[in-house]
Amino acid sequence: MADSSAHFDIDMTQGTLKLVPQGDWRARFLGALDDDLRNFADDSVGRDLVVDMSHVDRLDTVGAMMLQRTMRTCSGRGEGSEFTGASEAHAALLAQVEDHLNPCHVEPEHGNPFLAVIERLGKGVVDAYYAALEVMSFIGLTLATAMRVIANPMKMRWTSTVYHMEEAGMNAIPIVGLMSFLIGAVVAFMGAKILRMFNADIFTVELVGISVLREFGVLLTAILIAGRSGSAFTAQIGSMKIREEIDAMRVLGLDPMEVLVLPRVAALVVMLPVLAFFAAMLGILGGGLVAWLAMDISPALFISRFQETMVLNHFWAGLIKAPFFAFVIAVVGCFQGMEVEGSAESLGQRTTLSVVQSLFLVILIDAFFAMFYLEIDF
């Protein structure tokens, strides 16, 4: 046919309203026609309609659906409404779509937006309350499991524990080392610039020593491990949860707390102090190197000044925090993993939540320690 693009004519010559669709009525050609056809249908509500199909070259379900929809809007299929001249295949298509014209919702109902905001706020508060309770109970469960295993060390999963010590601890050494080396160097640079104004270059040693030993070494290591291992714990346990592996463990009489959670918590509690110590040493090395190269404080001077002024308290003040951070990171990571439900989307949300929560808690605990040390003059 010469004119193959889709269009339609309206013919009223014989007294009845006649729609004559023409050309190729397949979805890709019908976009421009949709509005016109809707308008036509809205204008002709209640009238009998004859659709002459004899000029349609090709038809797919979308074309058939649009014609059936027009028919329904016009007349609700009264006596005088019909399709004429349809080929066998086209008639079959028209019949196939006829029962499937009801629109459906594309998205869940949102309701009143103002109420929705209030509802979300309220739900958020309640959820936060229950989440806090659940984290507490998970911490309790972890500690109870730990006690039970300490009483009966045969139950400890040593292989798994050592694996996680390597994975979360040993394998993090390069990145932790590089980061604290750079942090130490940056602190030294910043301090040097200001201290030089007071001719107090040598205090760079105290600046680097105290900040790295007390705070930066352990805090930044904890933050890095929360991002690196806390999220990994959530993803590992969460994907096991999705594949029903956790349920399988339970029915086989294996306690997931013992098999999955405890080895991870134990591994991190052992390894984070080691990493924090390593980080502190490299931070001081970075600071020392900058002091030597940029401020002519020789390594010998740096070390002797360090020995004179640094008390061991600074070192312990930092290191004591590490196991607490580790415990929080591992417990939150495992907890969020256990909370994953069903879909991959939930896994993503929980992993994000795991990192955010453990970072928040690490910094909160750090603040508590700072106040505590201040009070006891440590």
Binding site: L30, T61, N102, C104, H105, V106, P108
Partner: protein, 262 residues
Amino acid sequence: MTEPDKSVEHVIEVDGLKTQFGDFVVHEDLDIDVRKGEIMGVVGGSGTGKSVLMRAIIGLKRPSAGTVRIFGDDYYQATDKERDAIEQRWGVLFQGGALFSSLTVAQNVMAPVREHLNLPEDLAKDIAALKISMSGLPEEAGAKYPAELSGGMKKRAGLARALALDPEIVFLDEPTAGLDPIGAARFDELIVNLKESLGLTVFMVTHDLDTLHATCDRVAVLAEKRVIACGPLDEVRRADHPWIQEYFAGPRGRAALAAKAS
């Protein structure tokens, strides 16, 4: 194997296909043709590469030798544009439905429509409603997320998405696996019904003997890295091969046959 008959139109022609993972050869010198408008069932034991064959045909697993022709065009030699055109003429239902989990069912169905056809939003919504209803899902299902659906509903939603662009070929990977017998029988009916009214060609990988009896025009049996028998079910059943005999003459095969006869 049946000789290629020039009088029937083949929409899928696979010639001398070889696929492998590393050194492990899954198919060697495999031939299979699918005729226009038929339902072709592919059966075979676990690990004979039924799903791999499907993936090779739909372009997800590049074969190491052989050709795959879809509508007469060699898929793996085609330009990007030709390939795009081919891909709009087929629909695929993956085993678990493979719905996008962040979209509702209706949005899943609308995704290919939005991508490939430049249509007004209202029409796209109507199309989604049509396909969802044609796949046998209730209207409320459109606004649900895949995580809220049962296994059978996921398959139907997957089918609705596969049908979104009015494809000529539909690939089904184990469409009835994991469905209860009633749900599976309804799904078989749905497929036959859609094939008849839409003129679909269906390429189906299945284990389900009842589905084979209820739906398939021809059956291809995969074993020993190739198609060892291909033809109408009654013909294939009589083939002299131990696996085929065991498969069709075993208790389940006989039960399915009895069910068909009654």
